[in-house]
């Protein structure tokens, strides 16, 4: 009830000033403001928890607003289409590339190649980084061995060691996957290691007091406790993977979203550049949504 009142108060202010504002306008305004109004307090919600409540409608509004501004800017020809093509042109180009292709490959092929590179690197990183991160957390020898390597190369930009990777591994698929793999490996391993460190010592003590062996403590306590951080590491890692994709596809790629964007940029086909960026963004975002879903399913006890 209180909420509705507050919406009303917000709504009435401009109307009473304008006096003769039509009713439909007021309804529109009300709908618009209701996006930002906090929903009714749900039972069981705790007071003062930072940032609680839904934000989906606001996010959709932001997206729509940006596209609208983009449309207006191009429609009124504030910028030349060479620098910023209109949304319509980008959508048309999307359809064209999807059906006819660009640079000797269709959009599906470009996407397929990029996803193959990113996800095989991601998969390899998952298989190696998580066990090594866990071992770095529980074993001082492994920590000593890997710590200098990871800490040294982690802050380096992938573009800096790309030439070396190419000299060593050639210009084929291997060097592309390895470059992305390296970018994903470090954040994933460090997250797994941090996950190990986040275990409450009481839980470990409790397990030992119930007769657990060292291996059982690692498997039943440490690994499960590290799971939320491992999942966070996977989310951060895949982000780094997409970031590195364009760098990986800079050299001797025949297809791929990064290649497509670079190729289009060379010929100043700006609408393909923007379309490629949006496709990469959407794929990365969808995967992140999937990871968040996985997190809710796998670790509902997180933070409890």
């Amino acid at each position: 009830m209180k909420n509705q009142e507050s919406i009303h108060a917000l709504d009435l202010a401009p109307v009473s000033k304008a006096e003769s504002a039509p009713k439909t306008k007021s309804n529109l305004m009300q709908t618009f403001l209701s996006i930002f109004a906090a929903g009714p307090v749900k039972p069981g919600e705790s007071y003062g928890a930072p940032g609680q409540g839904k934000s989906l409608a606001i996010s959709l509004f932001t997206t729509a607003f940006l596209i609208l501004i983009w449309h207006i800017a191009t429609y009124l020809q504030w910028v030349k289409p060479l620098f910023l093509p209109s949304p319509v042109a980008v959508v048309q180009r999307f359809w064209e590339v999807a059906t006819e292709g660009f640079a000797n490959a269709t959009l599906l092929e470009h996407t397929g190649w990029s996803m193959m590179r990113v996800f095989s690197a991601f998969f390899l990183a998952f298989l190696t980084a998580v066990p090594i991160g866990i071992l770095m957390g529980v074993n001082r020898i492994v920590r000593g061995l890997f710590d200098p390597i990871i800490e040294f190369y982690r802050p380096l930009p992938p573009l800096a060691y790309l030439p070396l990777v190419i000299i060593w591994l050639g210009i084929g698929e291997v060097s592309k996957v390895v470059l992305i793999y390296l970018a994903i490996f470090a954040p994933m391993a460090l997250s797994a290691r941090a996950g190990v460190k986040s275990v409450a010592i009481e839980q470990i003590h409790a397990a030992y007091s119930m007769g657990a062996t060292r291996w059982q403590v690692i498997r039943h306590i440490i690994l499960i406790n590290a799971l939320p951080e491992i999942l966070t590491g996977m989310r951060i890692g895949i982000g780094f993977g997409w970031t590195t994709l364009v760098a990986a596809e800079m050299v001797a790629a025949q297809a791929g979203l990064g290649f497509m964007v670079l190729n289009a940029a060379e010929f100043l086909v700006t609408d393909v550049v923007i379309m490629g960026i949006i496709v990469i963004g959407i794929i990365a975002y969808l995967f992140d949504l999937f990871m968040r879903y996985l997190e809710r399913k796998l670790v509902p006890w997180k933070g409890k």
Binding site: H205, S209, W301
Partner: protein
């Protein structure tokens, strides 16, 4: 019957930043006999928890030995103790269950799985696990909560899961570090009575830490009072208020007995005197 013995044990913690080392416990000689309910009472920093951690095997003594078993090392000279140490406590083990001050439950397991966790570690079959865990969950009044996630339970219920978990594992002794400290008065009394019932039924050795004088007197068959800087046992009383309760089932009656009140005043006097001697506890 095995007993727990502490022989000339001292614990020093290294000083921070090269400062002087802190003596947490100094030359403790003490034993817990089979079937005893020992309560440790004392101001903060007197080494109660350090003593419990020693018994649990979570920390090692700087000097001396702890044993759990049949051998009797009490009164033996220090040298002789080194000869017969097959019972020496060198780390945590399933013969000593621990109930922690703050719940150390596993949030990804439900109530039943938490209680049966120790049995699972030992490879006990599922049917027997459920059977034994259910028995103790019923004992602590949680028979209707088997499938609940532990993080949805109240503090008192979580603590009951912790107690049931300790008991399901069937240890020789149960170490309880202020298990009721965070609970409201009513739940606290219910769990006090519950622990006494469990103790009578199982005849396990109990080592129970508390800050509450009343709780200490009510629960203990033996009460030790500890004093800080350096941590040591200064008083050792045999009590039977818990047995009176187990016969009469009237906790308030027991706690208002003249003897109980007199003892409470005496213990409070000891603790306060102690604080004055040490320039006041922090």
């Amino acid at each position: 019957m095995s007993r727990l013995q502490i022989h000339d044990v001292s614990v020093q913690f290294p000083g921070m930043n090269g400062g002087e080392s802190v003596t947490a416990l100094s030359e403790i000689n003490f034993q817990i006999e089979p079937g005893e309910f020992v309560v440790a009472l004392g101001a903060s920093g007197c080494g109660k928890t350090t003593l419990l951690n020693l018994m649990a095997g979570f920390i090692q003594p700087s000097n001396g030995y702890l044993t759990l078993g049949d051998s009797d090392i009490s009164g033996l000279p220090r040298v002789a103790c080194g000869l017969d140490l097959q019972d020496q406590i060198t780390g945590p083990g399933k013969d000593r269950g621990v109930v922690f001050q703050k719940h150390a439950l596993l949030p990804w397991l439900n109530v039943l799985e938490n209680a049966a966790f120790g049995l699972k570690l030992q490879g006990v079959g599922k049917k027997e696990r459920i059977e034994r865990a259910s028995y103790f969950l019923k004992l602590v009044g949680l028979e209707d909560f088997h499938k609940h996630p532990v993080y949805q339970l109240s503090g008192g219920m979580q603590q009951r899961v912790g107690i049931a978990r300790g008991l399901t594992n069937d240890p020789q002794m149960l170490l309880l570090d202020e298990p009721l400290g965070a609970l409201d008065a009513l739940t606290r009394e219910v769990l006090q009575e519950l622990l006494l019932d469990v103790w009578r039924k199982t005849q396990k050795m109990m080592f129970f830490i508390t800050h509450s004088v009343e709780e200490a007197l009510f629960m203990a068959s033996r009460l030790i009072i500890m004093s800080p800087r350096p941590g040591r046992i200064t008083h050792d009383f045999s009590l039977d208020f818990n047995k009176i309760f187990l016969e009469t089932r009237d906790a308030r009656q027991v706690k208002s007995m003249p003897e109980f009140i007199a003892m409470r005043e005496k213990v409070l006097g000891i603790i306060h005197g102690d604080e004055v001697l040490n320039g006041g506890a922090h």
